[in-house]
Amino acid sequence: MNTTVVAQLQRQFQDYIVSLYQQGFLDNQFSELRKLQDEGTPDFVAEVVSLFFDDCSKLINTMSASLERPDNVDFKQVDSGVHQLKGSSSSVGAQRVKNVCISFKECCHVQNREGCLRCLQQVDYEYKMLKTKLQDLFNLEQQILQAGGTIPQVDIN
């Protein structure tokens, strides 16, 4: 094991994950998920976020279809989709996605189709951005493990 390489990778990992919290991509719930990961389930966090991204894709498609025709928007259905997305984003610590969902819910409540469409676009952007960021994070984890190191516990408080 090249300890210098491991130390560099670990530092890179720490800096990167801290930046994700500082930029608001993640909140404390992500830390809670990381605490649940153990030797028996080393891919737990990756699996949960993968389920979350599947949710995002499916719900965004459904909401997009509901919002398509200006004269026939089922705001109750859109609101239901936003509620589910808000729930799952909250569960994985996807703070930016969750925050867009809060605004999205308001637009549904007042039946503002244009506002809903803007929020839909924003939520699509945010989840895809987070997906890329977390993939980079998981890649760093793999590099650390392959170099013979351990994943650092990072205290973001």
């Binding site: 719930q29 809670e32 998920l33 605490k35 649940l36 389930t41 737990f44 699996e47 949960v48 389920l51 979350f52 599947d54 949710d55 239901s80 509620h83 589910q84 808000k86 729930g87 799952s88 909250s90 569960s91 994985v92 610590g93």
Partner: protein, 139 residues
């Protein structure tokens, strides 16, 4: 929390062989809740809506604890909780939901819950549920 810290909180949890049913339509939440329960050594099953929860009990199975989501298709958490209580089910039911306004919480509690926690669930919140519902043996 480490396993030792968890064991200190609930010294007899390991011997208690508690069982739990996760009732939630979200795969994300199902996975997280099952992991939390596994971490505390609680055997658990999962169903995806209130009707499935009722059907499981009708099939003769029983659980010490039910973690009941509120918003689910086919039969929601409020309807399922009422139905289970009408059936005479005495399992402890903890409502877990993102809906936190007082009116919705009151309606859910009045359906027959023993406890209520806002999502997302964490180890601390789950321990709080277990403490409140006396799921440990007093020494």
């Amino acid at each position: 929390m480490t396993r030792d810290q968890i064991a200190e909180e609930l010294p007899n949890l390991a011997e208690s062989k508690l069982t739990a049913l996760v009732v939630d339509d979200s795969f994300v939440n199902q996975t997280i809740h099952q992991k939390l329960l596994n971490r505390l050594g609680i055997e658990n099953d999962v169903v995806t809506n209130g009707k499935e929860a009722v059907d499981v009990y009708c099939s003769g199975r029983n659980y010490d604890l039910i973690l009941m989501d509120m918003d689910m298709p086919i039969m929601n958490g409020i309807q399922a909780t009422k139905r289970l209580r009408e059936m005479g089910i005495e399992s402890k039911i903890a409502g877990v939901t993102t809906r936190a306004n007082e009116g919705e919480k009151k309606e859910f509690m009045e359906a027959g819950l023993n406890d209520f926690q806002e999502k997302p669930l964490t180890i601390s919140k789950l321990l709080s549920i277990l403490h409140k519902l006396d799921f440990y043996v007093q020494t």
